[in-house]
Symmetry: C2
Subunit: 288 residues, 2 copies
């Protein structure tokens, strides 16, 4: 198991962790680079706001890696036009990820169309799962040509209706097997401890994924009680997730990439950016 104490080159900060304090990419880049943090994971709106070429240059000049690009996916739609828009958008996401040198595109599958706005167009979870597989398949061709891996991120089942209808690592890996049966690494998974800690099959599925398919590893913590289904994630060490145990599983399976801190939290968004980054670093060094 890798020793993370004292070396920040493997630490990545997902921009969502500081999206209220440092919404602009240049300020996030600067804050991370000056601390010696090795990588960031930016969101599309942030890259588009500064412009793709500028973002790519700033990230490169700062010496930062990009552990993942947030995000592709959201394939399901209520009609054919919506499905086409999603496919076009995913191809564009792949190109942007390539331009900024991302390790992978994070794929959040999407779920019932309209559900995120509280107005689900229908309830057919089987249909949207089919649309997701079709969407990933179509995007994969483009991604392979671009040399940009797609990482399916299973989300917690509590986000299964509105954000992602792929909720277990096993389900994500079944899709990888179906669409990329050789396990080339063009299609893999992102393992986020928040979404997967509860899964009794986690250890076996992480081992099944292996080094080729383990494309990203995200950390935060599960608080008890959890007061919100989206924005009440905990800082590493403040909850009940066995962080060391899960990282040991992932690394034993061959993962060698970054450890990305992705903390959607009303609490931490209310704290100064310097404090959040300092706490992230301290916890990364001691409990992750």
């Amino acid at each position: 198991m890798r020793d993370l104490a004292g070396d920040l080159s493997l630490l990545s900060i997902n921009a969502a962790t500081l999206r209220k304090q440092l919404p602009l990419l240049p300020s996030l880049i600067e804050a991370c680079a000056k601390r010696g943090i090795g990588a960031i994971a930016p969101w599309r709106d942030q890259v588009q706001a500064v412009g793709l070429a500028t973002a790519a240059r700033q990230i490169k000049d700062a010496g930062l890696a990009v552990s993942g690009y947030c995000r592709g996916g959201f394939f399901p739609a209520a009609d054919a036009a919506g499905l086409r828009v999603a496919l076009n958008d995913n191809r564009k996401t792949v190109d942007e990820a390539k331009a900024i040198g991302a390790a992978c595109v994070i794929i959040v599958a999407g779920a019932l169309p309209g559900a995120l706005e509280g107005k689900p167009a229908h309830k057919d979870i089987g249909l949207v799962r089919t649309q997701v597989v079709d969407g990933i398949a179509a995007t994969l061709e483009h991604a392979k040509a671009a040399g940009m891996p797609l990482a399916i991120e299973p989300l917690h089942p509590m986000q299964g209706a509105d954000r992602a209808c792929i909720n277990t690592l096993e389900h994500a890996l079944d899709i990888c097997d179906e669409l990329d049966p050789g396990g080339s690494g063009a299609l893999g998974v992102a393992v986020d401890v928040y979404h997967t800690w509860w899964d009794p099959k986690l250890a076996g599925q992480v081992a099944r994924a292996g080094p080729e398919l383990l494309l990203a590893y995200h950390v935060c913590d599960w608080l008890v009680p959890t007061r919100d289904l989206l924005n009440d994630r905990g800082m590493m060490g403040d909850g009940i997730i066995e962080l060391r145990k899960i990282r040991a599983l992932v690394e034993a399976a061959g993962y060698t990439g970054h450890v990305e801190a992705e903390i959607f939290s009303d609490h931490w968004w209310s704290r100064p950016a310097d404090e959040v980054l300092d706490v992230c670093i301290a916890r990364y060094n001691t409990v992750v």
Copy 2:
């Protein structure tokens, strides 16, 4: 598939649905019986409050069945004394269930000790899962002697840290296979649509369970958005769960028991009991 329109004999009302309006068992019994509802699922504190013999007589006199007794389980503890207390309590629960003529005891596994109070004693999910299996095994001997089936209810993974570390039907059935390899029906499962609708393996696992192991079936709905991890369940038809499709699976697998409405909801607890029961009946007749 059974036709539920117009016949309330298969409808059961879980007492939690009306726990704010009708906390006392006699009032719940009366309200259900006068509508022709076939069954209730009472909670232990309610039965104990009125006295076991009295509760049993009142339920019988009203002509109601008991679709399940809420609840056994919560096996994990931080020390040996705590484990013993839980086992004794579960044996008592089995005896109470027998006295009131319940179809089964609902087993909510329990999770990290102290987590429900926001003070988890530790984070070892593997340990508590072992304690749960040991606790069910010990209770099963007593339950078999009493002729009272135990129904393991997998809870939604969002309740995995504090309420139940068994979160998928597959995991529950694996435990059934381990502890009652003959599939005698002394140990089975309770399928609640709220906890299981998202599971991509639901259909296969329901079929695996079959008539012997399908001991209870609970309905409500999943709202988008869901605003609370515990008390924001929806009335049947108000959310995104494919109720007809799931009941068809359960009945195709051989389930012939009650359909129990169990709605933890701050919204419905704020409505008059008559209204809640009328809406339950209407939805039972049309969308369940």
